[in-house]
């Protein structure tokens, strides 16, 4: 192989191409900023009829920030196209992660968001912790006992020591009525 080809191969391994995170990020933020400036602000921020000065407008700061984001996003995109960033070593750690691990993590998040009041703090905590332990591939049984002990202890700590109320679970309440 020619020396220049070797150099090119080495460079392409350490740098991203034109389609790199910076240009994609800059492009995405530019589109979002345009949408924000020309659709979201006019549609979702009212201007009062009796406004005294443009600087007092409720739209002033969002517009200022929106234009700032737009200008910088374009700059980032152009910078990414001209000078692609280097690949980082951490990228290697992010390849080949089992999909089930990620699915179980999302499932744990869904349990907390959708069933927190229904299952209660302890119930949802136990279920989500079990899902996350499964995501990590833990096989020791005693570890799963921790998935029950920790949510119970932390919930009781919040309720009785810190006086912060947490939901007991509407599902259990309705079951107890039956």
């Amino acid at each position: 192989m020619e020396k220049s080809e070797l150099q090119f191969a080495a460079a392409s391994e350490s740098h991203y191409g034109r389609c790199n995170p910076n240009s994609i990020l800059g492009g995405t933020f530019s589109i979002l900023a345009l949408g924000f400036l020309f659709y979201v602000i006019p549609a979702f921020i009212e201007i009062p009829a009796y406004m005294q000065h443009p600087l007092l407008s409720p739209r002033f700061l969002p517009q200022l920030a929106g234009w700032l984001v737009l200008a910088l996003s374009l700059l980032l995109m152009i910078d990414g196209l001209i000078k692609p960033p280097k690949r980082s070593e951490t990228d290697e750690f992010r390849r080949g992660v089992p999909i089930m691990r990620q699915v179980l993590m999302v499932a744990a998040g869904i349990v907390y968001v959708l069933f927190f009041e229904e299952l209660g703090a302890i119930g949802s905590g136990v279920l989500a912790s079990v899902l996350l332990f499964l995501a990590s591939g833990l096989r020791t049984i005693w570890v799963y006992a921790l998935a029950i002990i920790f949510p119970a202890v932390v919930t009781l700590l919040f309720i009785y020591v810190l006086n912060v109320p947490l939901p007991p679970g509407t599902l259990w309440e309705s079951l107890s009525l039956i």
């Binding site: 995170p21 990020l25 933020f29 924000f36 979201v40 979702f44 921020i45 009212e46 009062p48 406004m51 005294q52 000065h53 600087l55 007092l56 409720p58 002033f60 700061l61 969002p62 920030a65 929106g66 700032l68 984001v69 910088l72 700059l75 980032l76 951490t90 750690f93 992010r94 390849r95 080949g96 992660v97 691990r101 990620q102 993590m105 744990a108 998040g109 907390y112 968001v113 927190f116 009041e117 703090a121 905590g125 989500a128 912790s129 996350l132 332990f133 995501a135 990590s136 833990l138 570890v143 921790l146 920790f150 949510p151 932390v154 919040f158 810190l162 912060v164 109320p165 947490l166 939901p167």
Partner: protein, 494 residues
């Protein structure tokens, strides 16, 4: 004298001492666990403070902050993983010392340097904060407007590797801060007719989402890194050696105090400046970077000298000096207090009770730090597979506790995803938080100024104080741009 007895009455409570001890302990433990940060610990502890007295709550958070600053150096020395960016300088000599079997000496040097620097920093806080607050009493809305502009320039220094990305994050933070009812006209802004958003975006879900959830997501979307163990071994630091290091420690502390008092400059730069200054003046300069104990002392004293000093702009002007003080600012607000000159007028007893607690926290750090050195392996060997589900649980419970609303859980997870995207794309989350906090202050003072002057813009240049802040803002921007170009050039050369 009457005030003094009131201060003591407010400070001398079991709760305060427990809060300080618990805070320092949690800070050191979290700081000593690779991958967890003091910022994350302070964010997670915030919901715990709801039912506490304001002094107790703030002392808990300050304790975590100080403990975390030291805890970060333990991992830097033992496993070459700085717990915080500021500890990166400590590993230059700390890790080689550990490899040479002098881990215990390095850790003790780091601890005692941290404690001395922390005390010096606290004294500076006590002397300068009230003085600065007196000056700030002369500030009106135009002066505050320019002060906020100057403070916004700190975004550049907390932007990490890319200033452009940091500024984008700050812009996004400002946009999020405008969600809710408009303070002047009462009209809805970006609420999308959702009543949960009418009272602004809640601070705690945003905070926990940005600083704790990304760590959890990152863990489950990456391969598990191999666990490195290093034993704490070797001889300890002798009194004679410590005396020999005192000059370096005091110099590093003073550097830390000066840098910490300037918003945005941060502990990392203080550590490196202190380190380079020690290297320049040391007779053993050739040994720096190869396991020189003076290097550890210089880095840690510079790093910890910042801790008390960053509270100077926070308490006297209401301006956060870094991310953690931004969180502490939020804690003040949650407890119905507004840091700034008015705090010194209306809650002087509380301020001095805080000062007492902050001083005590330095002594507590000695005991907790020594215990952490002894039991480090117990702390660092907690597997993340068990730790992170518990961290997530704390996040969820903390977010829910704010308004007893599952909407806040969703909001927190949404900010968590945003924080994760930021992590993956090299965007620092700190500018987002600074934008979120300073955005409303900027708008509020701009509007108050315009209402006072009835639209006359000359009010923004009305006196010497405004000009001082204008010049500081311009100088800070020029300095930031210069630093950005130098970094770019160095990057291109590398």
């Amino acid at each position: 004298m009457e005030n003094f007895s009131e201060v003591l009455a407010l400070f001398l409570s079991v709760d305060n001492f427990l809060a300080i001890a618990a805070g320092v302990l949690v800070g050191v433990v979290v700081g000593a666990i690779p991958g967890l940060t003091a910022t994350m610990a302070v964010a997670l502890a915030l919901p715990f403070t709801f039912s506490m007295e304001p002094v107790t709550a703030i002392l808990l958070l300050v304790g975590i902050y100080k403990g975390g600053m030291y805890g970060g150096s333990i991992t830097a020395i033992l496993i070459r993983t700085p717990g915080s960016p500021a500890s990166a300088c400590t590993l230059l000599d700390g890790y080689p010392m550990a490899q040479q079997g002098k881990a215990k000496k390095a850790l003790k040097t780091a601890l005692y340097s941290s404690v001395v620097a922390d005390m010096i920093s606290n004294v500076a806080l006590i002397f300068f904060a009230s003085y600065l607050a007196k000056i700030a009493l002369n500030f009106g809305p135009p002066e505050y407007f320019w002060l906020i502009c100057f403070s916004l320039t700190i975004i550049v220094s907390v932007s990490g590797s890319s200033v452009v990305k940091g500024l984008i994050a700050a812009g996004l933070g400002i946009i999020v801060s405008t969600i809710g009812l408009d303070a002047v006209y009462g009209t809805q802004r970006l609420t999308f007719d959702n009543y949960n958003l009418m009272d602004r975006v809640s601070f705690i879900p945003l905070l926990i989402g940005l600083f704790a959830i990304p760590e959890v997501i990152e863990f489950y979307t990456s391969k598990v890194a191999p666990h490195i163990r290093t034993a704490v071994s070797g001889a300890s630091l002798t009194w004679k050696e410590f005396k020999g290091l005192l000059k370096t420690i005091v110099r590093g502390s003073v550097i830390g105090v000066i840098i910490g008092a300037i918003p945005g400059t941060g502990a990392t730069s203080a550590a490196f400046i202190s380190y380079s200054e020690a290297k320049r003046t040391s007779p053993r300069k050739a040994n720096f970077g190869k396991g020189e104990v003076e290097g550890v002392a210089a880095a840690e004293s510079g790093n910890n000298g910042v801790a008390g000093a960053t509270l100077i702009p926070l308490l006297s002007l209401g301006i956060p000096g870094d991310v953690i003080t931004a969180i502490i600012l939020g804690a003040f607000m949650i407890h119905g207090l507004t840091p700034g000159p008015v705090l010194f007028q209306e809650n002087l007893t509380l301020v001095y009770a805080l000062f007492c607690g902050i001083m005590v926290s330095s002594f507590v750090l000695v005991f907790v730090g020594n215990a952490a050195i002894r039991y480090f392996s117990l702390i660092a060997d907690i597997p993340k597979t068990i730790l992170l589900p518990i961290v997530l649980m704390f996040c969820i419970y903390g977010a829910y506790a704010v308004n007893n609303s599952t909407f806040d859980i969703g909001l927190m997870l949404a900010f968590g995803v945003l924080g994760f995207v930021f992590n993956r794309t090299g965007i620092a989350a700190a500018p987002f938080l600074i934008g979120f906090i300073l955005g409303p202050m900027f708008e509020d003072n701009l509007r108050r100024t315009m209402l006072i002057s009835k639209g006359d813009l000359s009010i923004f240049f009305r006196g010497p104080i405004t000009w001082v802040f204008i010049l500081l803002t311009v100088a800070s921007l020029i300095f930031a741009i210069r630093r950005y170009w130098v970094a770019r050039k160095e990057d291109a050369l590398a």
